[in-house]
């Protein structure tokens, strides 16, 4: 069947079987490999993307269910003015190691900050609790999201990169 969706602000269309999962459609059909696939049971969250503005686990959504809808992936985080503050926060606070869970974590973090620009540590931990990171022990992910909350416009010029 033909599936059309708006991905990261651009209309995209392709043929796919009706049973195709959204994560596979994005990765294998559209070539957007920033979204990952980590479990078969909707537990790990490395596949989180936005569907009509809300984070979903794309391993549990059929591509056909996204037909005619808007999808946002990690490839759509960076804007014309540069990295999203969430991306910059992950870099500055060492919120990633192997990078595999990172796209899903950042998509959830961006959504959280859009809903709640000043989340507490507890609120951040709750927001990402449906996703697994095996490398960081979560501490630096929490710090990364807090950094982004405190820098809604990103770093200013006076902040050194490696300070």
């Amino acid at each position: 069947m033909r599936i059309e969706m708006n991905v990261n602000g651009r209309p995209m269309a392709a043929e796919a079987e009706g049973r195709t999962l959204l994560v596979h459609f994005l990765r294998d059909t559209l070539g957007l490999t920033g979204t990952h696939w980590g479990c078969d049971t909707t537990n790990c969250g490395v596949c989180v993307v936005w569907l009509d503005g809300k984070p979903v686990k794309s391993c549990t959504v059929l591509a056909a269910m996204a037909d005619g809808h808007e999808v946002r992936t990690v490839e759509g985080l960076e804007g014309e003015s540069g990295l999203d503050p969430v991306q910059e926060g992950f870099m500055r606070m060492h919120g990633l190691q192997c990078g595999f869970c990172t796209p899903g974590m950042m998509m959830t973090a961006r959504w959280l900050l859009d809903q709640n620009p000043d989340p507490s540590e507890t609120e951040i931990r709750e927001a990402i609790s449906g996703q697994i990171c095996r490398c960081t022990g979560y501490e630096n992910i929490v710090r990364a999201v807090r950094w982004a909350a405190e820098h809604p416009q990103g770093a200013d010029e006076s902040e050194g990169v490696n300070a």
Binding site: E17, R19, R27, D28, G31, T33, G34, T35, H36, G38, C39, D40, T41, N43, C44, V46, T73, V74, E75, L77, S81, G82, L83, Q87, E88, F90, M91, R92, H94, L96, Q97, C98, G99, F100, T102, P103, M106, E121, R125, E126, I128, S129, Q131, I132, C133, R134, C135, T136, G137, Y138, E139, N140, V142, G154, A155, E157, G160, V161, N162, A163
Partner: protein, 792 residues
């Protein structure tokens, strides 16, 4: 917006943001499953539903008739290629596809290559395997029973499930010490089977180019060079026509050290179809069939004087190795480094006996950040010290402080033969106690106990054993564990460093640039790190056992020093003085007493490539190599304190605080070291409280998905509190010790000791991990369960 590229130059060690992040943050990593080649096909593996069964027949005709299927491979196909069985690293063989029997649930039975992922899976459903189900061996403690079914009847004359017996330490001396001791405490304990479960599962893309007969394998490997050589040895493929590429790897933790049947099958699939073949396992396949870790049934004993001076430790281990002895570890000992179980203490004697057995479970045994069984060793001794404290009625911190090795006892040879390089143990423990506010915590605990609340404080002091390693202790099928490194300074003073090790998140692209920078003064931003491709890097054994920094890091440091040594000679020629008349200010040479007369390393690099006549015996260019053969292992250490609250109504454990003081020598990049520690602490909390793979009586794997195999989330992990002391290694060129697995090794006993401490009012002395609410509840009621079998 500021970017890394616009930052100021960063020279040497210190906090530096990671170079590799730029691609990961944008979704531009390049993991194995991201690779797409023209005409690429997809493979899928049919796995056994049974733990133990004889294969009567396999009918693949319906699968072969599927319009999108390009090849179906069975054990019979592989037998014609002499690839049905491959050697393990532990003097055994492993089935690639089962030919005679299946020996664990999830074992590989057939392989389908099809045009797409989904069709390959569809075709698996069309394969008809006729099994004769056999009784399985599930309980390791029954594996040696006379009437136990024989699992490995493929081995000629095999009549039992015995693999090996192995001992270390002087038994007679140890028995004598125990006979004379005032106090002897013993404890049975299980370190359950756990799984590394990196977020990226294992997989490979194989492409045998039919024109130049070159085989390229992109695979999730922590050891690309070792894999290349093993493929050459096993399959008889010419090594110069083999290229192993380990692109971005989504976590390893030891899971990606070994060669799995799927990798071999992708290669076979490519040879048969003359197309690139991708195989990527799903999560259940990962949990059911790839390397597990631990599964040690241990009986520990500790001997001491009445005053609390620890005299000796001995331990008897029943090691469950699963259906094949396939521990992917390079030591010469079947139990790896387990005999470092004497821990951080000054002991008169120690002895261990380890017996390995086959069971109908997946093979493996060494994985999940374990430093080759140091994890089990540290758990054993740290639980035994707490048991002793319990019997003597003394504070566990005080007992440890009294028995820790003193700084003046280093280098220290342990009763089982390890030579610890350096350590200041009491300082680390004191710092952890200071950060924790130990005395105040004990006061709080006493108050809470009086109110019926269950609060526990657990301590662990660990000595890690990393940097494999010296040839007297280890090799991989005859390959010594030296690692190569090449540093090349370009004419404009920028550099490239090529490594034999490979990163799975540890940040090598940053830290190895910092090592070169630390020595040469070239800014780390100007040093490109190349790794993970056997055609473009020097030979070496890869990244596991926390060996990158102690071995490959040493190679990079020595190669960098050779650069500086050569640069000194060239700089002297440029400045028309003798090399010994120059002072080195990391990054430039100046004439002694004349700081104004100088040459930078960049100026020297240009001159080394230029028309100048170089001194006699000095070749042009500014390159250096090193093959580093470590003289000893390194011994990082640390003191951990865990504070837990246990809900008396449900048995649920909450980790309230976790204090980790780590000493890994100087820190290349403190930000990255802290991140490594955080991740290991989460692993430790997971193993102590949640993670275990148990089996039911039929050998069904009860931890075969993330719904069943629980991994800590952000809600189970506290905000980690870290501290550091710095005790350099005397034999590493930069004093570095490595840190990758320290926290995974050190943290589980701290958590367990804390929970058992919390349960003291119930008289609980021990309960096996994972300390789930059910297990804690049962312990409170005097009936802790075995955690390797289905709930009894």
């Amino acid at each position: 917006m500021t970017t890394v590229e616009e930052g100021k130059a960063h020279v040497g060690f210190g906090r530096m943001l990671r170079k590799e992040d730029a691609r990961f943050l944008r979704g531009k990593g390049n993991y194995v499953d991201d690779i797409r080649l023209p005409g690429m096909l997809h493979g899928a593996i049919l796995r056994s539903p049974h733990a133990h069964a004889r294969i009567r027949s396999i009918d693949t005709s319906a699968a072969e008739a599927h319009p999108k299927v390009k090849a179906v491979v069975t054990g019979a196909t592989l037998e014609t290629l002499n690839l049905a069985w491959i050697p393990s690293l532990s003097h055994d063989v492993v089935a690639v596809l089962a030919t005679d029997k299946v020996r664990f649930q999830g074992q590989e039975v057939a392989f389908v290559v099809a045009e797409d992922r989904y069709s390959a899976r569809d075709a698996l459903e069309l394969i008809d395997v006729d099994y004769e189900v056999l009784p399985p061996v599930v309980d390791a403690k029954r594996a040696l029973d006379p009437d136990a079914p024989v699992i490995r009847d493929d081995i000629e004359g095999k009549k039992d499930n015995y693999i090996f017996d192995w001992e270390a330490g002087d038994k007679a001396v140890c028995d004598d010490v125990f006979a004379k001791a005032d106090v002897v405490v013993s404890q049975e304990m299980l370190y359950p089977r756990v799984h590394p479960a990196p977020m990226e599962t294992c997989g490979a893309v194989a492409w045998m180019d039919p024109i130049d007969q070159k085989l390229t394998i992109w695979s999730t490997t922590q050891a690309p060079h070792a894999h290349r050589t093993l493929y050459a040895l096993v399959a008889g493929l010419p090594e110069h026509k083999l290229r192993v590429i380990s692109p971005d790897i989504g976590g390893g933790f030891g899971n990606k050290v070994g060669i799995y049947p799927g990798y071999v099958l992708a290669i076979v699939g490519s040879i048969l179809t003359k197309a690139p073949v991708k195989w990527m396992e799903d999560r259940s396949e990962n949990l059911m069939s790839t390397s597990f870790a631990r599964d040690y049934h241990m009986r520990g004993e500790i001997a001491a004087t009445r005053e609390g001076k620890i005299l000796g430790v001995r331990v008897d281990v029943l090691a469950d190795h699963g259906a094949f002895n396939n521990t992917a570890q390079p030591t010469k000992y079947p139990a790896g480094f387990f005999h470092v179980f004497t821990g951080s203490y000054d002991l008169a004697a120690a002895h261990c006996h380890v017996r390995g057995v086959y069971t109908n479970k997946a093979p493996g045994g060494v994985a999940y950040a374990c430093s080759f069984r140091v994890t089990e060793a540290v758990y054993l001794v740290e639980r035994m010290v707490d048991r002793l404290a319990q019997e003597l009625g003394v504070d566990p911190a005080e007992l440890r402080m009294k028995n820790l090795l003193r700084p003046d006892q280093f280098p220290h040879v342990t009763p089982t033969g390890w030579e610890y390089d350096s350590g200041e143990y009491p300082r680390a423990l004191q710092l952890a106690m200071d950060i924790a506010g130990y005395d105040e915590l004990r006061r709080e605990q006493a108050e809470k106990r009086a109110r019926g609340e269950l609060m526990g404080i657990g301590i662990s002091f660990f000595t890690e054993t990393v940097g494999a390693g010296p040839k007297r202790h280890m090799d991989i099928l005859g390959l010594g564990m030296a690692d190569g490194c090449e540093v090349r300074v370009h004419p404009t003073g920028k550099a490239v460093v090529r490594l034999s090790v490979q990163t799975q998140g540890q940040g090598h692209e940053t830290t190895f640039a910092q090592i070169v920078s630390e020595v040469t003064g070239i800014p780390a931003e100007d040093v490109e790190v190349v790794h993970g491709d056997t055609d473009n890097t020097p030979f070496g054994l890869g990244t596991y056992g926390s060996r990158s920094t102690p071995v490959s890091g040493a190679a990079a440091a020595v190669a960098s020093r050779r650069i500086v040594d050569k640069a000194r000679i060239i700089a002297a020629a440029m400045l028309e003085c003798a090399p010994e008349d120059l002072e080195w200010d990391r990054g430039s040479f100046h004439v002694k007493g004349d700081p104004g007369t100088s040459k930078t390393i960049q100026e020297v690099a240009l001159a080394a490539h230029g028309p100048m006549d170089l001194p006699d015996g000095v070749e042009g260019h500014l390159d250096a190599t090193c093959v580093y053969d470590p003289p000893n292992l390194t011994y990082p250490f640390g003191a951990y304190i865990c504070v837990v609250d246990v809900d008396p109504g449900t048995g649920k454990v909450a980790v309230r605080r976790f204090i980790a003081v780590d000493d890994c020598g100087p820190r290349i990049n403190p930000m990255i070291v802290e991140g490594q520690v955080h991740g290991g602490l989460a692993d430790g909390v997971g193993m102590a409280l949640m993670e275990a793979i148990a089996f039911d009586e039929d050998g069904n794997n009860l931890g075969a998905s993330f719904m069943d195999y629980l991994i800590p989330t952000s809600l189970e992990c506290p905000s980690w509190e870290t501290g550091e002391t710095v005790t350099p290694s005397p034999h590493h060129p930069l004093g570095l010790k490595g840190v990758g697995e320290s926290a995974t090794v050190g943290s589980p006993p701290a958590v367990v000791n804390a929970v058992i401490d919390a349960l003291a009012p119930f008289g609980v002395k021990h309960a096996d991990m994972p300390l789930t609410p059910a297990q804690v509840w049962r312990a409170m009621h005097g009936n802790p369960m075995r955690t390797d079998l289905a709930i009894q």
